[in-house]
């Protein structure tokens, strides 16, 4: 597990090896640590805006002592697998815009206001907690339910932002976003009690039905 001080040292070491400036968005446990919602994370998840920036970062990570790693061992055959680098117990996942089943949208980028600069060349913006929850539903890990519950318990959550985020994902072509979100919230409620209000689940269900009807109509026409 990587604690925040260790994360700082790693990112500083990489920033010193960077040949050009790079900017990325921190998601998952990394972002949660910037908000004080988590004490340690299993890996560092970063989303870049372009492959060029990711390559610059990856090159610097390798120069700083990391090794390239095959993402199939962790992500199996999932779409939009990241590039990965690791050293010892520390692993860094490098995505470009798409995170498996979700896209790091323009709205998410705007909401990422917390910024951290490492040295002179590396700028990280922490994803908004609402978007961290949304992105967590793309994975199947039990820890993610715990993380989402921690965010909901310790921060004031605007459910509309999360639902609109999922709707936005559907518009961006990620068809199962609403389904995943609803399922994720159901699992949270099953494990942690009535954390997500029933009206939120009802709204997701209504939107999902709408989506299904629209898809059926579109298939009939086609």
């Amino acid at each position: 597990m990587i604690k925040i001080e260790e994360q700082e040292k790693i990112l500083l070491a990489i920033s010193k090896a960077l040949k050009k400036k790079a900017m990325a968005y921190a998601i998952g446990g990394t972002a949660m640590m910037f908000y004080g919602l988590k004490d340690a994370t299993k890996d560092i998840d970063l989303v870049f805006e372009s492959e060029e920036e990711r390559d610059i970062f990856k090159e610097a990570a390798i120069a700083a002592g990391f090794e390239s790693m095959d993402a199939i061992t962790v992500y199996k055959n999932k779409k939009n697998r990241p590039e990965m680098v690791r050293t010892g117990e520390v692993r860094i996942d490098l995505f470009v815009n798409d995170i498996i089943l979700f896209r790091f949208s323009g709205a998410m980028k705007e909401r990422a206001k917390k910024a951290y600069q490492f040295g002179d060349r590396l700028l990280l913006k922490a994803a908004d907690p609402h978007d961290i929850i949304l992105l967590k539903c793309a994975t199947d890990r039990a820890k993610d339910i715990e993380d989402a519950f921690n965010i909901i318990k310790n921060m004031k959550v605007d459910w509309n932002i999360i639902i609109e985020g999922a709707e936005n994902q559907v518009k961006l072509g990620k068809d199962i976003a609403l389904l995943d979100l609803g399922d994720f919230f159901e699992r949270i409620n099953k494990k942690e009690g009535n954390t997500v209000p029933a009206r939120v689940l009802d709204r997701i269900y209504t939107l999902l039905l709408k989506q299904i009807k629209a898809k059926k109509k579109a298939n009939k026409k086609g």
Binding site: I4, L37, K38, D39, Y116, Q117, F118, K153, N154
Partner: protein
């Protein structure tokens, strides 16, 4: 209570009494909660005038980062509390960098607060490297404004000479659309529109 829950519940400025009220705990328990947060690195302690201990509880204490506003607030007569800021790891922000940041921040309040930094500039060569072109003229113009209200470090002639505007240079705005009523002479000398008047500098008197 988990550390994260404690942090979120007590984030901000607290005393033992306020902790007792917030968490509905007795004095012993309140002290214990603060002790746990301090052990995790989230607490900075200062003293109030009546010898009460004041605890600044924040995630940022543990992160040990710095922001440009921290440097500005260290010297400014009245501090700035920004809504958003970039925290910086792994390097010490110099007053020179903070001045350039303040000019680019596009805010009158930040510029007024940053005038105090002219008392702390030592590395004019660094400032010259950071502020190029019309930015250098803006630095010089603000330096002249700062000189009218406080004692400042002397600007080397070389810096001034390299910043001097040319005939073909146009007037530059520090903040688009804002110019001064009281500092026309400085504006003319540097071909820079200043976004402040004498009344804005009351905090320095």
């Amino acid at each position: 209570m988990k550390i994260i829950e404690l942090l979120k519940a007590l984030e901000g400025i607290q005393t033992i009494k306020s902790v007792m009220l917030l968490l509905n705990a007795d004095k012993k328990k309140a002290i214990y909660y603060v002790h746990r947060l301090r052990k995790a690195g989230y607490v900075k302690t200062s003293g109030a005038s009546n010898k009460t201990r004041v605890y600044h509880i924040s995630l940022e204490n543990r992160l040990q980062t710095q922001s440009y506003y921290d440097v500005i607030n260290r010297y400014a007569p009245i501090g700035i509390n920004p809504l958003e800021e970039t925290r910086i790891y792994g390097k010490e922000i110099t007053p020179e960098e903070a001045i350039v940041f303040a000019i680019k921040a596009n805010s009158v309040r930040v510029i007024i607060a940053a005038l105090a930094l002219f008392r702390k500039i030592r590395d004019w060569a660094l400032l010259s490297r950071l502020a190029k072109g019309e930015l250098k003229r803006q630095v010089c113009a603000l330096y002249d404004v700062a000189k009218t209200i406080m004692r400042v470090r002397k600007m080397p002639k070389r810096f001034k000479n390299t910043a001097a505007p040319h005939k073909e240079d146009k007037y530059a705005y520090i903040i688009p659309g804002l110019s001064s009523d009281n500092f026309k002479g400085i504006e003319k000398a540097w071909k820079v529109y200043l976004p402040l008047n004498k009344a804005d500098l009351e905090d320095y008197r």
